[in-house]
Symmetry: C2
Subunit: 395 residues, 2 copies
């Protein structure tokens, strides 16, 4: 008999996927260049040439069994060393290879982090607005994801509501900064207050409360923005990183878990990840991709287009009267819809070939997400449609 | 608090890994070429040039965002189509892309297969001798692996014991043919009898009993051996394949689930795999590797060395008086030790720099495994050590 819980999930449709399919279908009618598809968070800037060059160089020169051979389950030792050295240099924390577990993207990293610190029934808190996949990611482990309502003024943390929900059952708090979908980066003040509260509650409850920090957008920070390293504020932090966005290689499934060197059981936790892998079927990320990213740890794709796009959109949205927190990074923006029902708002926008995603999906009804990882030229062309949509529908 | 079950697993040491570490350390003393390391099942023949060429060609020529972009969670459509076409051509079953789920190696494929058909507490049966990782792979899902004792005459299936253990609680039977560690391939007669029994018991119990067929060694079959396709015998078969051994790329984590097209819910099962992935953190195997294997589906590395090695070792073992079933494939052989305690036998062999793995690890005490995925020249040099070991210890 097939397992019902997975069968039941097939009925649930992803709003983002449906919208993206609409965009594709509409593109076939009127040309995809005429569809202003802001639905998908798919990196659009080219992969750094250094990554490609490194891949070709290894394929052309290295002994094939060594290049494509089994990685140790914690990751290739030299790669873990390189990641640790890069993190130490960058964030000033004493990372060593013993703190690094190579994982298949952030999804793989999170799958290990959740299993490290939660038993079935334990709670993990996250903050709205949030990446929708956190729901199944957490709940399929047997733990329970609970979502703290948003502080819509700033999309920092609503500490009042957070404190209410931070009960003894909470074993971990999951943050994502800069954030999908709001684009907002948590400030030093927010992270300090978060860390203080977690320390207080850990002591009060007599058990650690881990901070799981999902950081796939860490490298996409806009000029002048205060976006400090989460791990620097709180010892029991499990950093989950992905190279998907920084190198534009989301299909290659490469990232890592970096347990804070100051976390009491950091090395044990990394070793435990190797055991967790045996159950998840993970084993290790692809060897050649591990080797390649280790060579370009301090490089990124040219991410500047995202800031350019953000500035254009933000200015226009504000001009049009939208309430909108200015993003500090990522390639998302999360304005308030012009009517209470963001689903209705986004449905109406489709008539102008504007594909926007209602905030309900992200735990923040009344808002909508635009993923502006598209060509600047297209962002510019979309402004006219946006203006027409607003003026004809809401004026 | 860290999850105890994973912490506890850290205490358990892998016998194979310990032996491999011994071999490495000993190699540093006397030169690795003088250590007859039969411990690890690590492919030793070069990767096919066609795979390398295809990788370089794509890196040099394809648009990077397309090449390294997100794969759909079921796998890249064109890759699934190519896999299905290749399976149909080869095995005569009407595979379509809807039956194929691309996975991160056989471990990833199995992780999905187990979750498809078992709830916590359900039983999966497998047959000794068996790949040791099946234990944690199954048990960490919450299902329970039970091992049917071996038929040591042939290393086919001990049907008497199997029938006793095939109770109503069994939701799946896991086979691995040709087998690690015995090297034996199940004959058509074995598979027919297995299928008949599963059909009978499925009807009796009123629920499907799925056959999960782990086939990483499928392409390593020796001359004249009867090694038919498992799926051809039983409709409810979930094939789990890996390219690790056929292409010598175990580090690249690529394989697939192929649900038998005749299985009642085949398409639903593949779609369910995409949901299971959300919990395991799998998402998809690396894109570039998916594209590359799709181009070389009908190629393999030059696997002939494994048969050459097998013939040399088998002849010598028989000459020396070992009881030994002749392997039909893989790069393993599984002779009976010359004393009851195979661990003692293997320990004594270390004095001759022969690194052998006791069968206890594989659920078959009294036997030992030799992984002969090493250079033929080294196999030949090892014969003298083997002979000296036997003559000085057991004559």
């Amino acid at each position: 008999m097939l397992v019902q819980k997975y069968k039941d999930m097939l009925a649930g449709k992803s709003v983002i996927r449906e919208l993206s399919e609409f965009a594709t279908a509409r593109g076939q009618e009127i040309g995809y260049e005429n569809v202003f598809d802001y639905s998908l968070g798919n990196p659009s800037v080219p992969v750094p040439q250094a990554f490609t060059d490194e891949m070709i160089h290894m394929l052309a020169n290295r002994e094939t069994n060594e290049l494509h051979g089994y990685s140790p389950s914690l990751g290739i030792t030299s790669v873990r060393e390189a990641v640790a050295a890069s993190l130490e240099k960058r964030f000033g924390l004493p990372y060593r290879k013993e703190h690094i577990f190579m994982a298949s993207g952030a999804a793989g990293a999170l799958a290990h982090a959740f299993r490290l610190v939660t038993e079935p029934g334990d709670e993990i808190l996250t903050f709205a607005p949030h990446f929708p996949e956190y729901g199944p990611y957490v709940n399929l482990t047997g733990a329970v994801l609970k979502v703290v309502p948003p502080d819509t003024e700033s999309f920092q943390i609503h500490f009042g509501k957070f404190q209410e929900m931070l009960t003894e059952k909470v074993m971990a708090v999951l943050v994502n900064t800069p954030n999908n979908p709001s684009g907002v980066a948590y400030s030093a003040a927010t992270l300090q207050r978060l860390a203080d509260l977690l320390r207080q509650k850990s002591a009060e409850y007599g058990h650690a409360i881990y901070l799981i920090s999902d950081e796939p957008y860490r490298e996409i920070i806009f000029g002048g923005v205060d976006a400090p390293c989460v791990s620097a504020f709180y010892d029991d932090t499990i950093m989950c990183y992905s190279f998907s966005k920084s190198l534009s290689i989301p299909g290659e499934r490469i990232g890592y878990v970096a347990v804070n060197p100051r976390c009491r059981d950091a090395e044990t936790m990394v070793n435990m990840c190797g055991q967790i892998s045996r159950g998840t079927g993970h084993n290790c990320p692809p060897s050649i991709i591990q080797f390649a990213v280790a060579k370009v740890l301090d490089k990124t794709a040219d991410l500047s287009v995202y800031e350019t796009n953000m500035e254009i959109l933000y200015k226009e949205l504000v001009d049009l009267g939208f309430t909108c927190v200015k993003p500090g990074g990522t390639f998302y923006i999360f304005p308030k819809a012009l009517e209470e029902d963001a689903k209705a708002f986004c449905r109406k926008a489709l008539a102008y070939d504007l594909v926007l995603v209602p905030g309900d999906t992200f735990g923040a009804p009344g808002y909508f997400r635009m993923a502006y990882c598209i060509a600047t030229e297209k962002v510019e062309r979309s402004l006219k449609a946006l203006r027409r949509f607003v003026e004809e529908t809401y004026r």
